[in-house]
């Protein structure tokens, strides 16, 4: 396959930017924020895999795998947290959870 590495990186960075935008914009819905995080993580994985293929080293792919494992742990905890918080306040609006106010 003859795609330059920079194209893969551009695709990954666009995807990352979209994930970031999603996290920042969807402050009213914590689930959409988590989805934004997933998008960003996937962009990072794309970068890893692209690098791994470019240099022919397995470490990049390996880190993608680790990332997936970590993400699944993170998502399970985060969603459990969402359930818990929703049970307390009947909402998923992050602006309502401001007890960390300084």
């Amino acid at each position: 396959m003859s795609v330059p590495l920079s194209h893969i990186l551009i695709v990954a960075s666009l995807m990352f930017a979209m994930g970031l935008g999603c996290v920042i914009a969807w402050r009213a819905n914590v689930i959409m924020m988590l989805i934004g995080i997933e998008i960003m993580l996937n962009a990072v994985m794309l970068t890893f895999v692209g690098g791994s293929a470019h240099w022919g080293i397995a470490d990049g792919q390996l880190f993608s795998l680790m990332l997936m494992a970590l993400t699944s742990a993170e998502v399970s905890l985060a969603l459990a947290m969402v359930v818990y918080l929703h049970r307390r306040k009947q909402t998923v609006n992050t602006d309502r959870f401001d007890s960390m106010k300084g």
Binding site: L20, V23, I24, R27, M33, T94, D95, F97, D98, S99, M100, K101, G102
Partner: protein
Amino acid sequence: MMPATYLTLMLLFPLLGGLTCAIAGRKLPRVLVESLACGAVFGSFVCALLTALSYTAPTVVTLAEWFASFDLVIPISLYLDPLSLSLSVMIGFVCGLIHLYSVFYMREDEDYARYFALLNIFVFAMLTLVLAESLPLLYLGWEGVGFCSYLLIGFWYRDTNNADAGRKAFITTRIGDTAFMIALAWLFQLFGTLSVTKLNGMGFLMPVSVLTALGILFLIAAMGKSAQVPLMVWLPDAMAGPTPVSAMIHAATMVTAGVYLLARMYPMISASQTALAAIAVTGAVTAFYGATCALAQRDLKRVLAYSTISQIGYMMLGVGAEAVTAATFHLLVHAFFKALLFLGAGCIIAAMHHEQDIFKMGGLRRTLPLTFWSFLAGAACLAGLPFTGGFFSKDSILMAVWHKGGALYQSLYLLGLLTALITAFYSFRLVFLVFGGGNGHVHRTTGLGVMQAVLIPLAILGLFGGVLNLPGYMGEGLLTRLFVAIPGGGAVEATHEQEIVMQAVAGALALAGLAAAWLRYGKGRAHRMQEAQSPPSPLISFLANGWYFDALYNVLFIRPYRALAGILWERMDKGVIDDSLDGLGKGIGSVGQRLGRWSTGRVAVYLISFAAGGALILCYLAWLVL
């Protein structure tokens, strides 16, 4: 080996006594504290006597290393020579008697532990000052003396006036101490050592101008401690302390320290005629000043205070006239008769129920005969009546001044003679006013017996103190023989005829003063008593207020200083520093509050901030690339 043991014990006795009284004095019974304090000083006196008996030649005794860092090496070393020896014997004796006297004088005071602790430490500090071989050790004693005098002058500190007097003494003497400190630093820079013996041996290595400056610095130090013009204002106020303390400050410790310092550093200073002249002029002017002020005082103790200023002036004059022996001679005799006068005054004041105005006294000749005769002896010494101790010592100083020659010294001689006349006059003014007349009432008599008994040895020593150093035509003087080894200690080479003529002149003047006092205050006593009721004439109040030096200093220094302090406090400290700090604090506080609003507790805000930070870093990287 023996001198070292004696010297160490001499210092240790009062130190340990003082520390014991200070630490455990309140718990111990009163008798024990009193006997401990007295015993310590008398033990010290016995050690001094033993040292004197076994004395052969000047010795340096190094007790310990104090500190030795880089070039600065200061051992705790003591120097035993005729000067320090004679002074320490005198200090031990006089202070011992004053301690004994204090036991009865302070009988009704509750704070006896503090009193005796301070008194003992005072003696210790003075002995350290006298015996020290290295100047820093001497300085330590010097400051110790100043510190103890501050605490003792303000002993009855509940009265603001007393506390103020203590502070005045401390601050005024500190001016001199500063000069001393500068001299110390300069000496170390010049010679690399601070040992008295070495410095005196190396003085000639320096140009005369430097030695003059050093001499002046030492003179300023002595001015502060010895209450010389212009730093004499503290001594009259120092009367606020208990009378035995005044006796100690005036006779044995404290004020003589300045003269001692100049005598100690004399071999070095004497290379500069200018410095010597400055010392002599200071001494003579102070002697005259003190005598004139004493003329008009009404307070018994203040008369004596001004007389001390005057007599110390004579000693300075002696040092300035290259007569260290005569100065020391006068110092010793003065210590005896001034202690005598003060302790006698203490008896009078105690008997008069703390009345100190001499115009309200009278007739004590019959009610306090013992005090009268001792006080008379003291006054005779002070006045320099012929063949008393004061006569010989004062005359030896005046003779040295005359013998030095030159217009300056001859005019100083005349000033000294005039002062001697005034001295005789005011001494007997005091005697006639206090003891003359017929209306004597004694209020208190408890303990007076011992207090009066203490006066007797002092009176004998004062009257016959001349034996210490008889003039040449009566046989060689004891002190002269002892002092001949040290520079400036030799006898003045005057013919016997000259000596006799001069002593006759001085004696005649003293008798003239006595006669004048008799005419004015003995015969015309009743008239003077009436006069004292009316407001004093301008001249009298000028003299009574010490030439208005206090007011002058108030205008010259204290008021500008207060104004400056006020400006610094209100404008600088409050206006600039405090306000700017307050402003800074408020500014930071408001910034913090504004920043604090940022931490809303909302995740979204944090996320945006976080992302913005990341974006900034990216922008920076991109900017680096571009």
